[in-house]
Symmetry: D2
Subunit: 279 residues, 4 copies
């Protein structure tokens, strides 16, 4: 069910993490060591804020339904995008069709959103959850995934004002509607959302057995650990990543985000808080 990564820090060429790593996101599209599915060939997306973007800047988004591993456009764009904050995602479809409107990240105003996982038995809950989206937002849902519905629920619940509260309320609603319909474990997955400045990354599942999620150690520490690593020179001191799984096999670079946790990456660096669904 998908793999993703989110980057913030000094402007970085996207290819550094999308292409040029042992388990780069494009490599994970064909072979994901830790994924619930090995192959994530049902769509690719990248959303990025331009260099020098100010608060409220609208990110650009590129989506492709081709498998990322052989998509020339993905290679070209990854090498030409240089950005202080970007999201990228490869999809393994769990039902909803392969089409550009079902590719992550999704965008709303200056926000980006992506998801690895699912709303269980989506056909059972889709109508109630879709109905719960604010009517003024309803026409903005252009695809047919559970993930896009979840995003619009979070917007409905005030994402722009209080992201953690809004994600909590959206997940609560998924839990509640799911259980009303007899779904045992309604929610599964990891979610990343950003306003262009801060990244919030949630790891949560009803069952308490969530998809994997990792964050990078701070770069100065990594430099001390691996003083010979030339590739590190392209990363600035404030570079930070949150990823579905480590991008390489070097010990200590990536640290697991605990279950039921919301990770926050901002100018101060990384921290996290427990995530509690009221449902």
């Amino acid at each position: 069910m998908c793999r993703w990564l989110a980057y913030s820090g000094e402007p970085l060429r996207a290819s550094a993490v999308l292409l040029d790593a042992t388990h780069s996101l494009v490599a994970q599209s064909l072979d994901s060591p830790m994924g619930a599915e090995t192959v994530n060939g049902d769509g690719f997306g990248v959303g990025w804020y331009p260099e020098g973007a100010v608060a409220g800047s609208i990110p650009a988004v590129f989506h492709s339904v081709e498998p990322a591993w052989n998509d020339e456009n993905v290679r070209e764009l990854s090498r030409s995008i240089e950005s202080p904050l970007f999201f990228s995602h490869v999809r393994a479809a769990a039902g909803p069709p392969i089409q550009r409107t079902n590719c992550h990240p999704f965008r709303w105003e200056n926000w980006l959103f992506m998801h690895n996982g699912f709303l269980a038995e989506f056909a059972k809950v889709k109508r109630d959850l879709t109905f719960a989206i604010d009517p003024s937002l309803y026409p903005h849902v252009t695809g047919t995934t559970d993930s896009e519905v979840l995003f619009h629920l979070a917007i409905t619940h005030g994402l722009a004002d209080d992201p953690v509260a809004a994600l909590t309320a959206a997940v609560d609603q998924v839990e509640r509607v799911g259980r009303d319909q007899g779904v045992l474990f309604p929610m599964q997955g990891t979610i990343a959302v950003t306003d262009g400045a801060t990244i919030w990354a949630l790891r949560y599942s009803s069952q308490g057995r969530s998809r994997t999620l990792f964050h990078s150690r701070d770069v100065p520490t990594i430099r001390e650990m691996y003083p010979e690593a030339e590739r590190l020179s392209q990363f600035g001191d404030h570079a930070q990543l949150v990823v579905s799984e480590p991008l390489n096999d070097l010990p200590g670079l990536f640290i697991e985000v605990p279950e039921s946790t919301i990770a926050i990456l901002d100018r101060e660096g990384y921290h996290h808080e427990p995530f509690r669904s009221a449902a």
Copy 2:
């Protein structure tokens, strides 16, 4: 906003009307003389019942998002399909994205449906109309077009039991919801629907200025009119078509279906009835 054709009669190779006519449907994809848009390059579809199909047989459906005029698969399939009843459609998108799930004809059980036209200001009415679809049918809506919503409204209103009444009720609902939202002329277009035996084709618009619709004259009469026409030999005596526009420039072959009319093509041949929306 699209062009379509529907055929019934003796099993016919689909290429006879999709490829091998002056204004074949594929030719209309690039250049439609009578269309609201000249170019219908935003998707292609064909749905067909197999030879020897019995009542209730499920038709096959092929959809492609490539422009039909240069799509090799369309050529290959058109030449290999031989069918007693088929629908085909080329799309000019009026908003909803270019994706296979937005290509006509749509299928539900043994039924096919296609549409040329639009529900005006669809963003305004989409939510109300979508939630008027029977909840058990709701998960079956896989695309994002106005046309697919209209089809599912007709199913909700009893298409399988009384197609004319169901289409009337669906159009009434579109008129009513549209006017409630301040839409001046909510409905525009021509619709074809079939259960695999009978074709119902509606020409209707709120404004009384509907997209073009024609039906073919009966073949024995055409043979008398054009005794030298060799191409006629591939059509049986019961071959009949209803089309967005004539497939060639020969006078007398195609006859306009009047405004606000529902045409019915069955084993008895062609007849039509006035169509009246209660709204």
Copy 3:
């Protein structure tokens, strides 16, 4: 590098082997137990002769660049094709780009051809081999794969008159040109070719370590082995397959074709001959 299957016998619905088997060809596109690559998501093709086709009939061909595992068109067509002889192929690209013209099977007049494997270091030999294609055939090469060049070399060497001699001459040429360019093991793979009546299937590699190839045991014997197997009822007594790998895990149904062998499937059933490259 790809997986394929070839069927001949009583007219069969293609879905029986493309979709409805444990290791159906579409299942192999996502997960091929015996393939050199696990994932074959870089293109799909099917070529089929119609029921009642006579000698020299041109087969229909459908090609798609989407991964087969989630391609709705592949499902629809597989269920609607009923044919006495068809080829189907899923591709794992080894360099040449993902495009319809690089999808197998390739067609020339009434012939179909497909290949699993490669001409080693193709960039080194491509020009000489392409130059060796009969100039009148040269414009008929529409893609950029090694496989299509190999097919056209076989045609150049008289495929229509003596298929075994022509395949031998083509492979010889590949061996010779490869070695002239310093390629250690120029040829690798399995090839299937048909004129619509007989299937020739070659398993050969310069190194003597060829891609896997199997043929089905005769159906009457299988019925004795598995008298309870209901799925067998859809296969006629003359049904026979040659496949990159077994379509299911039942012991005894599929028999390995030996190294350096050309298998021949015709009305008499299956037999094979040693294949000897002169080079």
Copy 4:
């Protein structure tokens, strides 16, 4: 047979000319007022040099086979690309298939190339011209268009050393090989080529009736002509374009490039020279 534009000058957001003009290149994809074909829906491409690129920088290239008019990726990228020199092209295929490798602009090292027109009766001359390409370049031809062959002939004849002489030699070769094969008018079209600093644009046809070509008047003069035009503010004083046809209907902005002429756009501005084929 295609439409294109080439820009150089102060870094410009590509959407200014690809999207935001009456006859923007994307608008021309659906409706080209001066094109040999009205519809150019068989592929889109853009190639661009990054801001701050130095001599020899490799441009990025994006190609899509979807019609540009409804391609969301084209919109997103056009708005995110800011470049001092870019090429863009919409294709109307004249035979070679719709695939990314047949989309212009083509790239070789730091060079870009695009073409509107054709080599007449390409099937007759393709083999001779393809084998005239330098053998070391031969594997670099990844598509199947006449245009890409022409580009590689120009490289073979020394494009990097003397672009005008190389283009002349390539066109001479096309004329000569064509006439040897009995082709009356072998060459038709307009060509743009760049090394990232200078743009060379050729208008030439054997018959002396070439596809249209225009260049923009210098911006300071345009500002005097249209002092109220707000859109001009996004263009710098050194902005210059060469285009298949004018991007808007304002008189005097675009000036026709004469027949049999090679236009040169560099830091000094625009000038042109007569183009003479020796053949």
